[in-house]
Amino acid sequence: MKNDNTCVEPFVRISKRGVPIPVWKAMGIRALALLAALIICAIIIFAIVKLNPLKVYVAMFEGAFGTNKRMWVTIRDMMMLLCIALGLAPAFKMRFWNIGAEGQILLGGIASAFCMIHLSGYLSTLPMMLLMFVLSIVAGGIWGWIPGFFKAKWGTNETLFTLMMNYIAIQLTAYFVALWENPIGSNTVGVINARTKIGWFPELFGQAYALNVILVLTLTVIMFVYLRYSKQGYEVAVVGESQNTARYAAMNVPKVIMRTTFISGAICGIAGFLAVSGASHTISTSTAGGRGFTAIIVAWLAKFNPFVMILITALLVFLDKGAIEIASRYNLNNHVSNMLVGIILFFVMGSEFFIDYKVKFRGGKQKEVQA
């Protein structure tokens, strides 16, 4: 005979936490996950290069911050990734899966490169910068708006739509690279205006990348305020939680979707402007270089809080630069950085589960029942 007492309890029981756990505990769980990920990464690095992992991490640190120049390059790349993540945040908060940041960056880049090539000599620095800024916003914004329009009107699957827009943007870039190639036959655009530096970000305080930092940090603050305190930011949040609620509250859902996707694409367009005018001074099909995908995870892990994004971009860019340094020191290729970033993402994403849910093992339960 089987009765309730002999019934086998499940090995683990999982329940949602009624009360959220304190912040320090949540941070502790995340820190543990990160530590575990770094240990796994260290083991992998050790298996490949057979060196003391601690020394490898020191080498990574030198690679990212070792010299003044390296540090600024790291900061520049951080700003770029942060800018894309800022752009993606409103779209993802609205549960609009904008995987098309790559394409939107490229469009912004094409617009900037167009100005640098065709308008050099007609405009002085300030109007030129402003024009490039506006055009890259418009180009990226339209690229983001198109899938938003179809989503709003017919509910077209935006995940694949934005993804396909990436490849169309890549081919468009390839077309312009062929059009602008310099020298002819090289299949690259080369550094644009290398001598005149027209359309390049001007140096501020003696730093070539100071303007990037100012621009992106301003944007960070604006986005924080926009998402948290503005009416539009509130609409984004409501549409993301439940479109029915939004409709019930008399929000114009299609309008919110189209507006938000435009903003999202526009900021990614600015990232393209940063990449072309503020960093590489050239354009190629790899100008976005996969950062549009990494930025999604940055925005997601930060729960769309722009200031948390700064920390996460810092970590990811540090890993990236560090891994490239290791790769060049030990003669490996630098794809190793993506592998390490992936492992860290798995751990950090998985750790969120232990923040939201309570896990009870079989043994511990007995006591609770008796008590």
Binding site: Y175, A178, M349
Partner: protein, 327 residues
């Protein structure tokens, strides 16, 4: 005419890669798991299959072709299944967001594959790029009776065996989903896991198995790409990733029906290679022509969403994590 057949051939080669990918992904999506890690999983299948035979060929001066094929397929399938397992643990057990997890898997596997693809040979003490000529030739060997057929038919039946295996797998999965009781259970899990759970179907088990086996099938697409399409070498320009995304698109294009995916895949392939067979294109217009498969995908997406036919809808529970206590 010869041009047309050549285009068809190129289309079939290309289509086979994404057919594996989309068949596996359809299986996973039928269980309600939207696995955007398909490009990553194809990467894993491709590189680990390549690594498996690389070590076998390195240690055996005269490799047996059958063993080569077996090693390659087993290691590719296994590695891809492991990729699917990572995804399953994260999304099913730890309830992470499926889209973000899929992207993370693609980033990880892309890094893994391109890292080993680019430096495996050097790590093993060799020079130059990795290459497995014997295995690749075994994969590309045409069916034995193909030579005796008339030219046109012979060309269409002259592919390596994996081209036909892809069709067989697609037909089998189609039959399995629609004509078996386990398939019916699987569809129930994808449509409404709560109801399926109440009916006594082991939802979690179904989700795990469908996602992992689906990933294994997708991984074979990566293997075919490496062994057949690029002839046993590794190209690190992200070719697999592109095709992986097209495979995800093909799932929607086919309306979650692998049978329809077969001709869809070949159509995609022909659209992809069309630029090559149109005479007198400059390089610039060639780049514009290469947009075609992506443009067509978008048009299909829009048309499908406008028509809203019942049989073309995704599984109702797609992308939503299942938690018994949250009903």
């Amino acid at each position: 005419m010869t041009q047309l057949i050549a285009l068809l051939q190129a289309g079939i080669m290309f289509g086979t890669v994404i057919l594996y990918g989309s068949t596996g992904e359809t299986l996973a999506e039928k269980s309600g798991n939207l696995n955007l890690g398909v490009p990553g999983i194809m990467y894993l299948g491709g590189i680990v299959g390549l690594m498996g035979v690389f070590f076998y060929e390195m240690n055996n001066p005269e490799p047996n072709k059958l063993v080569c094929i077996l090693i390659a397929m087993a290691s590719a399938f296994l590695a891809a299944t492991l990729g699917g397992l990572i995804f399953s643990v994260l999304t099913i057990t730890l309830r992470t967001n499926q889209i973000v997890t899929g992207l993370a898997l693609t980033i990880f596997a892309g890094g893994f594959a391109n890292f080993f693809g680019g430096s495996l040979n050097r790590l093993a003490g060799g020079v130059g790029q990795i290459s497995v000529a014997t295995t690749s030739s075994a994969f590309r060997a045409s069916l034995p009776f193909a030579q005796d057929l008339p030219p046109v038919l012979g060309m269409l039946l002259g592919f390596g065996f994996m081209v036909y295996l892809a069709v067989a797998v697609a037909l089998f999965v189609d039959w399995f989903i629609n004509r078996t009781s386990i398939g019916l259970n699987l569809r129930a899990v994808g449509e409404n896991p709560g109801t399926a759970d109440a009916a006594g179907i082991k939802v979690i088990l179904y989700k795990y198995l469908a996602t992992c086996i689906g990933a294994g099938i997708s991984g074979l697409g990566g293997l075919f790409y490496v062994m057949d399409y690029t002839k046993g070498t590794w190209d690190s320009d992200g070719g697999i990733e592109r095709l992986g995304w097209l495979a995800v698109a093909l799932v929607i294009f086919s309306g979650w029906k692998p049978k329809k995916g077969i001709w869809g895949a070949y159509l995609f392939g022909m659209l992809f290679w069309l630029f090559f067979y149109i005479p007198d294109l400059t390089r610039r217009s060639m780049e514009l022509f290469k947009m075609l498969p992506y443009l067509v995908t978008i048009i299909v997406l829009v048309v499908v969403s406008m028509r809203r036919r019942r049989e073309n809808e995704p599984p109702a529970g797609l992308g939503i994590p299942y938690f018994r206590e949250e009903r």
